[in-house]
């Protein structure tokens, strides 16, 4: 994206222009600022760019008809779903049918060794609902897991409706799975590529991981690249509430396909904290933020390492956003925000103040980033690499947190991680922590009602195991 020339000179925080039409056409509010602006002339200064996105509130939703929904529901019916998980997934599907309106369309697909379409583009009038209910009830589990085939068949149902629909609808797929894909396309990078291609063609996907055995790598890759959300439903009874909550989130989405575009000065190296997908092209960095529900806020933190320069020289960083409003044609682009770094001496760098609330936000995202990356390495059986990663990050994180209100707590948490992360953690607890850091890094709500163990409790358990000399967990193979 080319940054438009009309930008806010100080640029630290500005609302973007409202270019949409009607209540769903409002623009998100975008803000961007650096935690510190002065960078050392000798180079290698690290600064953090904090971008905040506030989705517009849809205050008139209750007083007007909502957009029709073109929904695909894709259910994993592999052998491991047999029993309560599949029954809960069917109950969730029945709940979705009840919640849909006459103007909506539903495609229902189940997958195991192969994918089966049980309903394709069925209008949700009384007759259609009855037919889909009849299709859901006899669903039974079958063998292995071709997740890609099921998901793409579900998307095909949506795409058929999309091609034929006269008006604008919300096109959304919800994929429920409890297992690693072990048939068909399993590579998360390829799945993400398909998800991206479908997103730019108007089909979004959210995923729900069921139980403790699901593959967050594949479901996360799909949800992120598809501009949707990933949810966790560890217990079968949570499936219904999560699916219905995701449906509610879909219907309350006021911003879709939100992408950020950063224009970086020559020589600046960028690293995005968390799991936000990013693509660098030359000096441009594009980030996929995805869908935001009415009133939601999202923070994205980008670590920037600056090159050497001359004292007094300025380094402008451009930040712009583009998004789609559900029900409106085309993408909107915000005016660009310009954030500037300034080359200065070591004394200048030391003397500059640091806004505490901004630094606190950076520390929270950084901590979640370290936790997520370290846990992923730990679960891959790369204990030494996980230890080294956390150790190196902690070295800088400790000094960054100095003087912050929550600094000691966050640092202490990572120091405890460092002591135990060489041992393979219990997969159930590790998955929970991965999910928690994932949600934190995306500023997304956890839709589950049942309270989970905190990071501190999880670490306490792992420390106790280490003290008792218990052997670490063996790597789990799907």
């Amino acid at each position: 994206m080319t940054i438009p020339s009309s930008h806010n000179a100080n640029g630290h925080h500005a609302g973007s222009q409202h270019t949409g039409n009607g209540p769903l056409g409002a623009a998100p509010r975008i803000g961007a600022l650096l935690d510190r602006n002065i960078v050392h002339t000798a180079g290698r200064s690290v600064r953090h760019l904090v971008i905040t996105i506030d989705a517009p509130l849809d205050q008139t939703a209750a007083s007007r008809p909502r957009l029709p929904l073109n929904l695909g529901l894709v259910i994993d019916a592999s052998g491991s779903m047999d029993g309560r998980p599949l029954e809960a997934a069917k109950a969730a599907a029945l709940g979705v049918v009840d919640a849909l309106q006459e103007s909506d369309h539903l495609s229902l697909v189940s997958f195991a060794t192969s994918a089966q379409s049980h309903a394709c583009n069925v209008r949700m009038d009384a007759l259609g609902k009855a037919a889909v209910r009849e299709a859901i009830r006899p669903l039974v589990s079958r063998d292995s897991t071709d997740l890609a085939a099921g998901w793409l068949l579900g998307c095909e149902g949506i795409a058929e409706r999309l091609a034929a629909a006269q008006g604008v609808e919300r096109n959304q797929c919800i994929l429920l799975s409890d297992g690693h894909a072990n048939r068909g396309e399993c590579d998360p990078a390829v799945l993400a590529q398909h998800a991206h291609q479908l997103r730019v063609r108007g089909v979004l996907t959210s995923t729900v991981g069921i139980g403790i055995g699901y593959s967050p790598t594949q479901l996360q890759a799909i949800a992120e690249a598809a501009g949707g959300r990933m949810h966790d439903a560890e217990q079968p009874e949570e499936i219904v509430e999560i699916v219905l909550a995701e449906l509610a989130e879909t219907l309350s989405t006021t911003v879709e396909n939100l992408e950020l575009c950063l224009k970086l000065p020559e020589g600046v190296v960028a690293e995005v904290y968390g799991t936000t997908p990013a693509t660098a092209t030359g000096r441009q960095l594009d980030l996929i933020v995805g869908a935001l529900r009415s009133g939601a806020s999202r923070r994205v933190v980008v670590k920037l390492t600056f090159p050497a320069g001359t004292s007094g020289d300025r380094l402008p960083i451009g930040v712009a956003a583009r998004w789609k409003n559900p029900g409106a044609e085309g993408l909107h682009t915000s005016p660009a925000l310009a954030v500037e770094a300034l080359f200065g001496s070591a004394a200048d760098c030391q003397a500059q103040p640091r806004p505490t609330d901004t630094a606190q936000r950076v520390a929270e995202q950084w901590q979640a980033h370290i936790q997520h990356r370290g846990l992923a390495l730990n679960q891959d059986g790369a204990g030494e690499a996980a230890t080294e990663f956390v150790r190196q990050e902690l070295e800088h994180f400790r000094s960054y947190c100095h003087g912050l209100p929550e600094g000691d707590r966050l640092t202490n948490l990572l120091e405890r991680f460092l002591q135990t992360i060489h041992r393979r953690y219990d997969p159930v607890a590790a998955k929970e922590m991965l999910f928690s850091s994932y949600k934190l890094s995306r500023s997304e709500a956890d839709l589950r009602r049942r309270k989970r163990s905190s990071t501190e409790e999880f670490l306490r358990t792992e420390e106790a195991k280490a003290n008792q000399g218990q052997p670490p967990q063996e790597p789990r193979r799907p």
Partner: protein, 219 residues
């Protein structure tokens, strides 16, 4: 003043687009190929202008796919491309109405993409043509040796292939047409359903034909 011949790296430096991305644009028929081949391959100013305008189109209409942006680019005259690349005029003004039409035309993009993912045995074109393998009609990927064929030869081979395709397409249930605009007045239309790599081949064919039509005998 900028020169009139550019290496791939020059194009990358002028536009900030990675060389491999530019190469993929050439393969997709978005940009004309180089005037000469080999390590010192040179691209014309027209390629640079088209690349700049292509980027402008994608910036202006953020929701258009690469394929849609290519259609927009092909709708512009050489003079319009030169002007837009020089910063004269607005893409939105020139292409706004067409963008709405293209978007309507591309509501079926997701469906076409998904159907393009299916194995070729599931394609109507091939399943209805016993004994003909998809790889025999179009090689799945282009090779360097193809790049080095003279344009005229490439176009002749392509036309022969197209003639074969047109024959095998008879009796198809659907009426899916792919149209590749060659010039303002001439387009190449192909009926059937095709995988993305096959469509890329069509665009290469379009490039060769376009070069023949606009530049006379190729080098």
């Amino acid at each position: 003043m900028e020169p009139d011949a550019f290496t791939l790296q020059d194009l990358a430096t002028h536009t900030g687009v990675e060389p491999r991305t530019i190469r993929s644009y050439v393969e997709k028929g978005i940009l004309p190929g180089p005037e000469s081949l080999g390590r010192g391959a040179r691209y014309t100013r027209d390629t640079l202008d088209r690349l700049r305008v292509f980027l402008l189109i994608r910036d202006t209409f953020r929701d258009v796919s690469v394929d849609q942006a290519r259609l927009h680019l092909q709708a512009l005259t050489p003079a319009q491309i030169r002007n837009l690349a020089a910063g004269k005029g607005k893409v939105a003004t020139l292409l706004g109405p067409q963008n709405a039409a293209v978007k309507e035309q591309h509501k079926g993009d997701a469906l076409a993409y998904l159907r393009g993912l299916k194995p070729s045995s599931e394609h109507a074109l091939f399943s209805r043509t016993p004994g003909k393998e998809s790889a025999g009609i179009f090689p799945p990927k282009h090779t360097d040796s193809t790049d080095q064929q003279p344009l005229l030869e490439q176009a002749s081979r392509a036309l022969a292939t197209l003639a074969g395709l047109a024959g095998s397409g008879r009796g198809l249930r659907g009426e899916n047409w792919y149209r590749i605009r060659l010039t303002q007045d001439i387009e190449l239309s192909v009926r059937g359903e095709f995988a993305p790599d096959q469509l890329a081949q069509f665009h290469r064919i379009g490039d060769a034909l376009r070069t023949l039509l606009t530049k006379g005998t190729p080098k």
